[in-house]
C-alpha cells in the first residue's frame, strides 16, 4: 500500500515537472520579447543573452520619435479600424448565426454549405480583387477600405455564435410564440439577452483580428505609410536598413500591442472550445 502511494507521488511530481518545463518552453519567447524591449543596447543580435543594462528609453522613443515611424498614429488607425470592423462584424455575424440556428427556410442548407466552401478560398486572393475595385472607385489605401475588408467576410464566421444559439432552449421561443411574439421579437428580446458571452466573444475576436493581421493590410495599404496599422508599421521597423537601430523599439511596440490582445484572449478562451467543436459539446 505504501509503495503504491510513493509511486503515485513520483508520478505526480514527474507529471507536474514535465508540464512546468513545457510551460517554460512556451513562455521563453514571450519573456525574451519583454527583456529585449527594456534592453538599453541597440541591435537585433547580441553576442550575449542577458542585457547589460535596462532602460525605459525604447518605450519613450516609440511615442516621441515620430519622424520615421509614427507609432501613435498607427495605433490610432488600428483602434479605429478594429473598433469599426468589430461593431460591423459582430452585428452581421449575430444576424447570420441566428438565422441558421433558429429559422428554417428552403435554401438554408445550401447557404451553409456555400459559406463553408467560400471560406476555403485563400483569403487574400479576394483581397487582391477588392484592392483593384477600391482603386477603381478611388478608395484604395484608405482606412475605410481596410474596415470593409475586415468586416466583409463576417457572414462566413458564424460558427461560434450559431453553436451558442443552438444551446439556448427552443422552449423559450415556443413560449414566446404562444404569447404572440414574432421572430424579430424573439431575436431581440430572447436570444440576444441570453447570448451575452458569445456576443462578447464575437466582438473580441473581431477586434483582435485587425490588430494582429499582417497580410490584408500589406495588400490594401501598399506603401501608404500614414494609414498603416500597428502590425504593418512595426514590421517596417525591422527591415534590413532599420533593424539595427530600431529592433528594441520594435520589441517595445510589440509589447504594447500584445498586452491588450493577451488580456482579451484570456477572457475569451472559455468560449473557444464551443466554437471549435460546435454543437457536439454542450457548454
Amino acid at each position: 500500500m505504501k509503495s503504491m502511494r510513493t509511486r503515485k507521488r513520483i508520478c505526480a511530481v514527474a507529471l507536474n515537472g514535465v508540464i512546468a518545463v513545457l510551460a517554460i518552453a512556451w513562455l521563453v519567447p514571450v519573456f525574451w520579447l519583454v527583456i529585449s524591449s527594456f534592453r538599453a543596447e541597440q541591435g537585433a543580435y547580441t553576442s550575449y543573452l542577458w542585457p547589460k543594462s535596462f532602460t525605459f528609453g525604447n518605450y519613450i522613443r516609440l511615442f516621441t520619435d515620430r519622424k520615421l515611424f509614427d507609432f501613435p498614429r498607427w495605433f490610432g488607425n488600428t483602434m479605429l479600424v478594429a473598433g469599426c470592423s468589430c461593431v460591423i462584424t459582430t452585428i452581421l455575424t449575430l444576424m447570420v448565426a441566428y438565422v441558421y440556428s433558429r429559422l428554417r427556410f428552403p435554401s438554408r442548407r445550401f447557404l451553409m454549405n456555400a459559406s463553408l466552401v467560400l471560406g476555403m478560398f485563400p483569403g487574400f486572393m479576394s483581397i487582391i480583387a477588392i484592392y483593384h475595385f477600391m482603386k477603381a472607385v478611388n478608395l484604395d489605401q484608405t482606412l475605410l477600405a481596410l474596415i470593409l475588408v475586415y468586416s466583409g467576410g463576417a457572414a462566413l464566421n458564424y460558427y461560434i455564435a450559431k453553436g451558442y444559439f443552438d444551446t439556448i432552449p427552443k422552449s423559450l421561443d415556443e413560449a414566446a410564440i404562444l404569447d404572440g411574439a414574432s421572430n424579430s421579437t424573439i431575436f431581440w428580446k430572447i436570444i440576444l439577452p441570453n447570448a451575452k458571452p458569445v456576443i462578447a466573444t464575437t466582438a473580441i475576436n473581431a477586434f483582435i483580428n485587425p490588430i494582429v493581421d499582417y497580410i490584408f493590410v500589406s495588400v490594401i495599404m501598399k506603401d501608404n505609410y500614414n494609414n498603416f496599422t500597428v502590425s504593418k508599421g512595426l514590421y517596417t521597423m525591422v527591415d534590413k536598413t532599420n533593424i539595427y537601430e530600431y529592433y528594441t523599439v520594435f520589441c517595445a511596440g510589440a509589447v504594447i500591442v500584445a498586452i491588450p490582445v493577451v488580456l482579451l484572449f484570456i477572457r475569451m478562451q472559455k468560449y473557444y472550445v464551443a466554437g471549435v467543436v460546435g454543437g457536439s459539446v454542450k457548454g
Binding site: 503515485k8 466583409g152 497580410i215 500584445a258
Partner: protein, 452 residues
C-alpha cells in the same frame, strides 16, 4: 401552389395569365398594380427603370468589350510644342473585367427580381380568382419580421458576402484565363483571354513552373499532414496531462500556454526567426553551452528549415489543440467513467475505450478545418522563413514555400496575377471539394439539426 417550380410559374403566367400578368413580362409591377398592391408594383417599376438606366449608361459599355477585354492600347504621342509625351487613355482591361463582373451580377439580381415580379402577379391573379386574400404592403412589411425574418436578417450579410467574397472570387477565377501578368499591366497595356494556357503551363507546358508547382504541392501536403498531426497528438497528450487529477494549478498552466499564442503571430514569429539566424540568440546560447562551435544554419539549409517550421508550428498550434481538448475532456459524461469503473476497467483501459474515442469523434470536423488552415498556413511560413532558403530551380519560390505563400509572392512581388489565380483555383478545388465531402459525411455535421 407555392410548390410550383420556377419554370411552371413562368409558363402558367404566360399561358393562363391575364393581360396584366402578361404585361408584367415587359412592364414590371403591372400585375401587382392591377391587384391593388400599389407600393409593391411601383417598387418593381422603379427597379426596372433604374436597371434600364444602369444597363444603358454603364453596363453596356463594359459588357460590349468583355469578349476582347479592350482593343485600344494607351498611346503616347510626342507633342513637339510642349516637348513632352502626351498620353491618350486607351481601354483598361482591368476595369472592363471588373465592371463586367459587377454588371453581370446586377443582371442576375435583376432577373431574379423580374421573376419574382411575374410570380407575384400570377399568385395575386390566382388568389383574386379564388376570392382569396391579397397581402397589402403593410402586411408584407410585417411578414419581414416573422415568416420572412430570415430575409431581413440575411440581406445585409449576404450583400457584403457577395461584394467582398463572392464577386472577387469570380473575378479571380476569370483572371486565371487571361494573360494578366507583369508584362500586361493596365492601364499601360492590355491583357486578354488566353484560354487554358495558364493551366497547361502549370501542369505540362512550362518545365520550371510545372516543377515548382508539383514540388510545392508535395511539400504543402507533407507540411499540412505533419503540422496537423503533430499538433493533434501532442496537444491531446498535453490536455490529458494537465487535466489529470495529479496536476495542481491547472488554470495557471493553461494560462501560460495561452499567453504564448495570444502574442500576435507577426511579433512572435519575427522574434523566433531572428533568434534562429546565425548570429541569433539560439545559436549564441548553443555556442555558450559549448554544444556547437559554429552557428547552425537553421533557416539556410533546406532540410533544417523544413524541420524548423514544423517545430515552430508546434509552438503555435499545440496551445490551441490543448484548449480544445481541455474543453472536450471536461464535457465527457461522468456516468461513462463510473459504469466503466464498476465493470472493473483500469485507468489505461478507461482512457483507451472512453476518452480517446470520444475526443476523436467530437473533434473530427475541427480536425478537417485545421488541416485546411494548415494547407493555407500563410503566417507561419511567410513570417518565419519567407519561403526561404531560395533556390534557382524554382520559379519565384523557396524550399519552404507553400502553394499559398508562392501565390502571395507571385501577386505582390511579381504582379503575375494570372498564374497566381490558376494556383488559387487549384487550391480551392482541392481543399474545398475534399472538405465538403468529409464534412457532410461526418456524423456531427449531419445531425447538426438535432443537437439543439
Amino acid at each position: 401552389m407555392r410548390e410550383n417550380s420556377k419554370q411552371n410559374v413562368l409558363i402558367c403566367a404566360a399561358a393562363k395569365g391575364s393581360l396584366w400578368t402578361r404585361l408584367s413580362f415587359a412592364v414590371m409591377g403591372a400585375g401587382c398594380i392591377r391587384h391593388k398592391q400599389y407600393v409593391r408594383g411601383l417598387l418593381y417599376l422603379l427597379t426596372q427603370i433604374v436597371f434600364f438606366f444602369f444597363f444603358k449608361n454603364f453596363a453596356l459599355e463594359y459588357l460590349s468589350k468583355f469578349n476582347t477585354l479592350g482593343t485600344e492600347t494607351q498611346r503616347k504621342v510626342w507633342n513637339a510644342e510642349l516637348q513632352i509625351f502626351q498620353r491618350f487613355p486607351g481601354d483598361n482591361s482591368m476595369l472592363i473585367l471588373l465592371y463586367s463582373v459587377l454588371s453581370l451580377a446586377v443582371v442576375v439580381v435583376f432577373v431574379c427580381i423580374w421573376y419574382a415580379n411575374i410570380r407575384d402577379s400570377w399568385y395575386a391573379q390566382e388568389s383574386a380568382r379564388r376570392g382569396g386574400h391579397i397581402d397589402s404592403f403593410r402586411e408584407d412589411l410585417r411578414s419581414l419580421t416573422h415568416e420572412r425574418f430570415h430575409i431581413t436578417l440575411l440581406s445585409m450579410p449576404m450583400l457584403t458576402l457577395v461584394l467582398f467574397t463572392l464577386l472577387p472570387i469570380i473575378f479571380m477565377i476569370l483572371i486565371a484565363f487571361t494573360n494578366f501578368d507583369a508584362d500586361h499591366q493596365p492601364p499601360g497595356n492590355l491583357f486578354t483571354w488566353v484560354g487554358m494556357t495558364n493551366v497547361t503551363d502549370i501542369f505540362l507546358g512550362n518545365e520550371i513552373k510545372t516543377n515548382t508547382f508539383f514540388g510545392l504541392l508535395g511539400w504543402t501536403i507533407v507540411w499540412a499532414i505533419l503540422a496537423t498531426f503533430t499538433n493533434y497528438i501532442l496537444g491531446m497528450l498535453l490536455a490529458v496531462a494537465i487535466n489529470s487529477k495529479l496536476v495542481k494549478l491547472k488554470q495557471v498552466w493553461r494560462t501560460c500556454f495561452i499567453i504564448a499564442i495570444a502574442i500576435p503571430q507577426f511579433v512572435s514569429l519575427l522574434l523566433i526567426s531572428r533568434a534562429l539566424e546565425p548570429a541569433g540568440a539560439i545559436n549564441v546560447l548553443l555556442q555558450k553551452l559549448g554544444l556547437i562551435s559554429t552557428p547552425l544554419p537553421f533557416l539556410l539549409n533546406p532540410t533544417l528549415a523544413r524541420i524548423v517550421v514544423v517545430v515552430v508550428n508546434m509552438w503555435i498550434g499545440i496551445p490551441y489543440t490543448m484548449m480544445t481538448f481541455s474543453g472536450v475532456l471536461m464535457n465527457i459524461p461522468a456516468e461513462l467513467y463510473e459504469s466503466a469503473e464498476m465493470d472493473g476497467a483500469g485507468p489505461a483501459r478507461r482512457f483507451i475505450s472512453i476518452t480517446l474515442p470520444y475526443m476523436i469523434f467530437v473533434t473530427a470536423p475541427a480536425t478537417i478545418t485545421t488541416f485546411v488552415t494548415n494547407f493555407n498556413n500563410f503566417n507561419v511560413i511567410y513570417l518565419l522563413t519567407a519561403g526561404g532558403p531560395f533556390s534557382l530551380d524554382c520559379y519565384q519560390a523557396g524550399k519552404t514555400d507553400l502553394l499559398v505563400t508562392w501565390l502571395y509572392k507571385l501577386t505582390v512581388n511579381r504582379n503575375d496575377y494570372s498564374l497566381a489565380s490558376t494556383i488559387g483555383i487549384f487550391i480551392f478545388m482541392l481543399v474545398g471539394s475534399c472538405s465538403l465531402l468529409v464534412y457532410n459525411r461526418t456524423g456531427a455535421v449531419k445531425k447538426e439539426d438535432q443537437f439543439q
